[in-house]
């Protein structure tokens, strides 16, 4: 998926579905990175701006990736979803937080997101 002009991958078993941005109720008082909450079939989901969380250049959050990990379910705002692909194991470790590694796919560098670490960071971020 494309996030703020950069490319990232999330393990497909952590992705429940992809939805349009839709109507998001902003949450005044929440930290940066929290866009708000959204109704998804009568379920209230927190919506995070993935670009802000990853520290990528600001993106559009036009599409929401509904992600699940550690019993939590969130909507992650991304620019676009590019592909579902089988990637080789990460070729290089990354010193960026939330990434389990990076790899070169064709010409582009793909950051592999570690869902557990990402979700832990989301909880911290909302509290900040």
């Amino acid at each position: 998926m494309r996030v703020g002009g950069e490319t990232y991958a999330l393990p497909v078993e952590n992705v429940a579905e992809i939805v349009e941005c839709g109507a998001i109720a902003p949450l005044p008082g929440a930290a940066g990175g929290v866009i708000g909450v959204r109704n998804l079939r009568a379920q209230v989901l927190p919506v995070f701006d993935l670009a802000a969380v990853l520290g990528a250049p600001s993106g559009t959050s036009a599409v929401l990736v509904i992600a699940e990990a550690a019993g939590n379910r969130v909507a992650l705002g991304v620019d676009a979803v590019l592909d579902v692909a089988e990637l080789e194991a990460a070729s290089e470790a990354s010193d960026l937080p939330f990434l389990s590694g990076t790899l070169l796919d064709g010409d582009s560098l793909v950051g592999i997101i570690d869902p557990d670490r990402l979700f832990a960071a989301l909880a911290q971020r909302a509290a900040a």
């Binding site: 109507a23 005044p28 008082g29 909450v37 109704n39 209230v44 550690a70 939590n72």
Partner: protein, 623 residues
């Protein structure tokens, strides 16, 4: 009674079993060579919780065993080294505790400390009567059939009738679903008569508890939080209400005092009362109550109790204030009545179901918010706001109310638009006029929590999905009004910096203790910031340069108080921030560890006196 005990035992066993499972996992991981202070700390927390729980419910042998293992693990928690030969005795002890939990004569109650120390990973379970589920499924099936009938008749004259039927069915469906969350008072009350006997014995008095309305059902979440306030009120009744046996016989009363716990449903609320047949509050207190207009206000103020002499048992004003905060935090109310020589009665009015909330829906900056109707006094026209102390106020029947925009109070950036609609919101003894763009009307909504990831965002009770699919954020009135007051305080401070009151950070994982300390400090005029564990505390401290002092607990998840103190001391900018450690660990070694870590003061919770805390804080911030 047998049924209640059995049900109770199941609830407690579920909880303790989960703790023992994770304890065993930790021991096995440590034995297999995995190291990590996380594992040891988690293990100690599990033990501590089991110990606390077992002691509360009178499973003394289980509590003693947990305590013994805690002692055994003391060197491990200090050195971080786990000798593998410890694994075998630990696992055996876990088995013994499990056996103890299943013992025949084990009247157990759900345990308040479990909620207080619960880690984020706690799985929530609920025991449900099978009839309720059957009924729910019946209703759902009926609704579906009805929906199909509706499609056929839609457009005909019969449509309106069928829609009515649908509404009734769905209403019942909703009520049944809500009923799944309810538990009878008996789930927590069975251990209380013994508690009253024990308290009376330690006070040199004779008292008996009678309980009425054990079958009254309450929302599980309300019930779980109710144990501590109830025990507090019972203590208060025995320690301060009931007279000594000699005094009672002099007055011609039966020598054994009676404490009564009653619960009954009153419409959409449950009324819980704790009353005693003691001497009632003193004439001085009654006089003060006549002046203040409310006995509850006077008793909740620190320094007052229902007796003139204050014993070492709880019963002071701060304790009652915590009870009131708990009740009002749920959207309920708290009242006290007292008659000379007849006794004192505490009345708690609690919401029947937390899942449903009657709210006033309003629109502000294009978004929908819900404000609990119980906190809304009236809607007013906002015209000609007056300025008082440089802040906008609204004049209402000779009173000046602070005036602020809803979205701004919640933390939205940007100036508030001139709004013409105001709502007077009242909670926790404060009120303010809050402005918004439009009033949309009142509605009963189903409260959905914002979830663990957003739990730390302050100011919201949750969210609700409206009929049109929009999300309404449900505003917590008490925190909204705190914001109104601290917002005005900030502005006032800017014009008079010398008057600015010091800000204190309270780091404590137990919500009860945290709220207690917050209320003590705020009553004394300090501003406060709170955090649930050391890591959060450190973040708060580094993010807010106004914090002048830190009050911290020791045993907390994520990052404990000692480590927090060390990290503060090592910090280049905030290294000089005074730190007060408040803990339940009374022994000298613990005190020394605290002071070695760099704490400025060390206070023990058992002998925890609010004056002592305030004196220490005042000494350390120099004001």
């Amino acid at each position: 009674v047998i049924d209640e005990l059995a049900e109770l035992l199941d609830v407690f066993r579920d909880e303790a079993d989960g703790r023992l499972d994770s304890l065993v996992d930790a021991v096995l991981a440590l034995e297999s060579g995995r190291s990590g202070s996380d594992l040891v700390e988690g293990l100690l927390r599990d033990l501590h919780t089991i110990k606390g729980g077992a002691a509360v419910v009178g499973l003394d042998d289980v509590a003693a065993l947990a305590h013994a293992i805690e002692d055994l693990l003391e060197p491990v928690s200090e050195t971080g080294v786990f000798p593998p030969e410890l694994a075998e005795p630990l696992l055996r002890a876990a088995d013994s505790m499990r056996a103890g939990l299943r013992g025949e004569a084990v009247p157990a109650a759900p345990v308040a400390p479990v909620a207080a120390v619960a880690p984020v990973t706690e799985t929530r379970s609920i025991r449900v009567a099978a009839e309720k589920l059957d009924r729910l499924l019946d209703l759902v099936g009926e609704s579906l059939l009805h929906q199909r009938r509706l499609e056929h008749v839609l457009g005909s004259e019969a449509a309106a009738d069928e829609l009515d039927v649908g509404e009734r069915l769905l209403g019942e469906l909703k009520d049944t679903a809500v009923g799944l969350r309810m538990l009878p008072l008996s789930a927590i009350a069975t251990a209380l008569p013994r508690a009253v006997r024990d308290i009376a014995a330690s006070e040199g008095k004779a008292a008996e508890l009678t309980v009425h309305g054990l079958e009254t059902e309450l929302d599980r979440a309300v019930l779980e939080g109710l144990t501590e306030p109830l025990v507090h009120l019972l203590r208060n009744a025995v320690a301060h209400g009931i007279e000594s046996p000699e005094e009672r016989s002099r007055k011609g009363k039966p020598s054994v005092g009676t404490v009564e716990l009653r619960a009954a449903q009153r419409g959409n609320a449950v009324e819980v009362t704790v009353s005693d047949d003691g001497a009632g509050v003193s004439e001085a207190v009654r006089e003060e109550a006549r002046r203040a207009g409310s006995l509850a206000d006077v008793l909740c103020r620190s320094g007052f109790s229902t007796a003139d002499s204050v014993s070492n048992l709880a019963g002071r004003g701060v304790g009652l204030d915590a009870v009131r905060s708990f009740v009002e935090g749920l959207g309920g109310s708290f009242e006290v009545r007292s008659e000379p020589e007849q006794g004192t009665e505490f009345i708690l009015l609690l919401p029947l179901a937390l899942a449903l909330l009657e709210v006033l829906l309003v629109e502000s900056d294009g978004n929908v918010y819900g404000i609990p109707l119980a906190s809304v006094s009236e809607a007013v026209d906002v015209h000609e706001p007056v300025s008082l102390g440089g802040r906008p106020h609204l004049r209402l029947r000779g009173e000046a109310l602070p005036l602020a925009g809803l979205a701004q109070l919640l933390g939205a950036s940007g100036p508030s638009k001139p709004a013409s609609v105001g709502i007077v919101v009242a909670a926790a003894g404060r009120s303010a006029a809050v402005t918004c763009d439009t009033l949309l009307g009142q509605e009963e909504v189903v409260v959905k929590p914002l979830g663990p990831l957003l739990a730390a965002v302050e100011g919201y009770l949750g969210a609700a999905v409206l009929g049109d699919g929009r999300v309404a954020l449900l505003v917590d009135p008490a925190s909204l009004l705190r914001g109104a007051v601290s917002g005005t305080a900030r502005r006032a401070a800017a014009s008079a910096p010398a008057q600015r009151s010091p800000k204190v950070l309270v780091v404590e994982d137990s919500v009860t203790v945290r709220e207690l300390q917050r209320s003590i400090l705020e009553t004394a005029g300090y501003r406060t910031v709170t955090a649930r564990h050391g890591r959060e505390g450190l973040e708060r401290l580094l993010a807010d340069t106004e914090i002048e002092l830190v009050v911290t607990d020791v045993e907390m998840p994520e990052l404990d108080g000692l480590e927090l103190t060390r990290l503060i001391r090592a910090h280049p900018e905030r290294g000089n921030t005074p730190v007060v450690i408040v803990t339940s660990c009374a022994d000298d070694a613990a005190r020394e560890r605290g002071l070695v870590a760099g704490a400025d003061a060390y206070m023990v919770k058992q002998g925890f006196e609010q004056e002592a805390l305030l004196e220490t804080v005042q000494r350390l911030v120099g004001r």
